[in-house]
Symmetry: C2
Subunit: 390 residues, 2 copies
């Protein structure tokens, strides 16, 4: 497989875009990424679009072809990929694979979702398409239920407290204040978090990511193309050291233990191996904190924090910008927002900005970054490792 | 890119499966394909699932991971791909590319859709997700409208008559009578077709494919794996000479001329070039006859019939089994049915059966076959060329 480089990124703000169509959001992100990349749109060989629920919420599919048409891309394969909340990460991986395999020399990955225009009941029903409804439906378990259970098990096993988990919320909401793309950065107290609306004990409102609209895109190219572009690019290259996709159980009862998701553990192991780096080499990560407790679990599954220590590390500031490893310097899903299909590409956008040393909440001397996108009840996962070429 | 071989195929009947879940249909097809392939499920490296509207119609997504879980596949990338009616063909191409690129040695492509359980109004709304609603919505054009327009233009330009197009319907409905997987084979007279319910002038009811449930799957492997399996396989190998994916305009007004779809023309050209064969070498084709007139246009776009002659050839029996080129010996979408996401894989299933010389409506001495899957208003297309290794 060939080396792959990221030469352009684009993103809308994450939040409310109720007046814009889903395709216009995606087009905006792609055009920004293309302009920055200095790649001629005629040289793009493939487009992958990550999206989860545009069918149920917008009555719109074949978005990959529609977006390509609006931009005037040539007649190349344009494919929507779906893996629930991991759809964006899957789009990124497929664009990388198309270049790595030699099939094309330049590809676009874009993720997009619009959700805020729909009534909450309809949005919730659409989000539940990510569940294994045949198995988990009759049990009454929902996603807040899954993460509520996981939290209780983690607390029982490792002594993780409300204060530990609140530290994740405070950190990410605080990071979001520095990120102009973020939907809801905030300075929160432990009391405000603990006293917010109960959702599914022990999960309170501030433990949940918001409903969001948004799009993010990247342009990936082969080494030969990247070298040719060096004369026109205004920013350093970022190399894709690994882009891994795995699967786990789709059903909540299918996991041996809810304090860990196999799909993440395996994806991280494969990514470290492919990239030739270890967890200690990771300067920052954008990981899938759909709920606050998810960050605790993910940070352990990725090997960045010792098992059981995720809450303690957050509480001690070791996962803040400037700590041992910067987790969700962007604000993460909790503060930046979670336009589902866009999230995985939004993570890549954030990590690339960090590795170019142009992030508004910059991690000093960031050299190697990671993204982690998890779908459904752990059924689909992507992990990528990126390296800044300074 | 490496050679790719098809070693297993599976399919449900196409028609009504109102008592079965969408995942159980897909699992059935995959298990049949796996058993026939003699590939150990532990050796499968990737699964691609083509599906269009399970979100709106079933409230279910992440079907790729769910199907893999039910079958007990290992922890490998499982991805749903979507390109409206071409979703199945796109899944096939991606499984082939995963093997061709050297990423994996064996992969599964499965397509599935369930539609008959939903009220007609809901199904129609879901199918319209394949339109470019921003552009074509306000014009009031629908898919029958698109193909009605195309018919009128074709008739005006080339003298194509009701009788010519009815010959397509009679042929495909008749072929369907020989196919035990087909939903509605029938012996029809010209009068019955012409007098059937008017849908969108000049399109009558029998010019339209039915609403269907169904699933189809194939197992593709590398040459090395295919050679190893030769001791256990009970049927000849089928080689994938080409698996091409293209895009065209998503909107009806975006086509220069409705008597042709660019995406098909370009896909066929690329496929012939990759396969090193010409249109004259194609013994049979399963093409995308969502409406009767679509077969006329597709047969010309694929270069199998001279431009403007599609209707005439059908009327003269030149596209029947035993004619110059056998088109839709399975019954096609018109008679076999059109469970949208499954259709592209169903076409591969049919062509492989023909190239193994085991088809219930066998084309004598079939050696090279083609599939053609078209999505939306021509926005996504796949064409593959397969060769029987006798």
């Amino acid at each position: 497989m060939r080396d792959v480089y990221i030469v352009g990124i684009g993103s809308t703000t994450f939040g409310r875009h109720a007046d814009e169509s889903i395709e216009s959001l995606a087009v905006g992100a792609v055009v920004d990424a293309l302009i920055e990349s200095t790649v001629d749109r005629g040289d793009i060989g493939a487009l992958y679009l990550g999206n989860f629920i545009s069918g149920p919420l917008n009555g719109k599919e074949v978005l990959a072809g529609i977006v390509a048409d609006r931009i005037g891309l040539p007649n190349v394969p344009c494919t929507k990929v779906e893996g629930a909340c991991a759809s964006g990460g899957i789009a990124f991986r497929h664009a990388c694979m198309a270049v790595a395999s030699g099939e094309v020399n330049a590809a676009i990955a874009v993720g997009v979702e619009t959700m805020t225009h729909a009534p909450t009941k309809q949005t919730t029903a659409a989000l539940n398409c990510a569940m294994d409804n045949e198995n988990d439906g009759p049990s009454g378990l929902t996603f807040p239920g899954l993460f509520g259970l996981a939290w209780r098990m983690h607390a029982d096993r490792f002594g993780t407290t409300r204060e530990h988990v609140s530290a994740v919320v405070r950190k990410n909401k605080g990071n979001g204040l520095h990120n102009p793309l973020a939907q809801m950065g905030a300075e929160l107290s432990d009391a405000t978090i603990a006293d917010s609306l109960p959702i599914c004990d022990p999960i309170q409102l501030y433990d949940c990511c918001p409903t969001s609209d948004g799009a993010a895109a990247v342009v990936v190219v082969s080494k030969a193309v990247a070298e040719k572009l060096s004369a026109t690019l205004k920013h350093p290259l970022v190399q894709v050291l690994a882009a891994v996709q795995t699967r786990g159980s789709p059903s909540i009862g299918g996991h041996a233990d809810l304090i860990s998701f196999d799909a993440t553990v395996v994806a991280a192991q494969r990514a470290y191996e492919l990239a030739g780096v270890s967890a200690q080499d990771i300067d920052l990560v954008e990981l899938h904190d759909c709920f606050s407790i998810a960050e605790v679990i993910d940070s352990e599954d990725l090997g960045l924090v010792p098992r059981g220590q995720g809450g303690y590390w957050a509480h001690e500031g070791r996962t803040a910008v400037g700590g041992d490893v910067a987790i969700n310097a962007s604000g993460g899903l909790l503060a930046k927002g979670h336009p589902v299909g866009a999230t995985g590409l939004g993570q890549v956008f954030e990590v690339v900005s960090q590795l170019r040393h142009t992030h508004p909440n910059q991690v000093q001397n960031a050299r190697i970054g990671m993204t982690h996108n998890l779908g459904g009840a752990g059924v689909a996962c992507t992990v990528s490792i990126l390296r800044g070429v300074q």
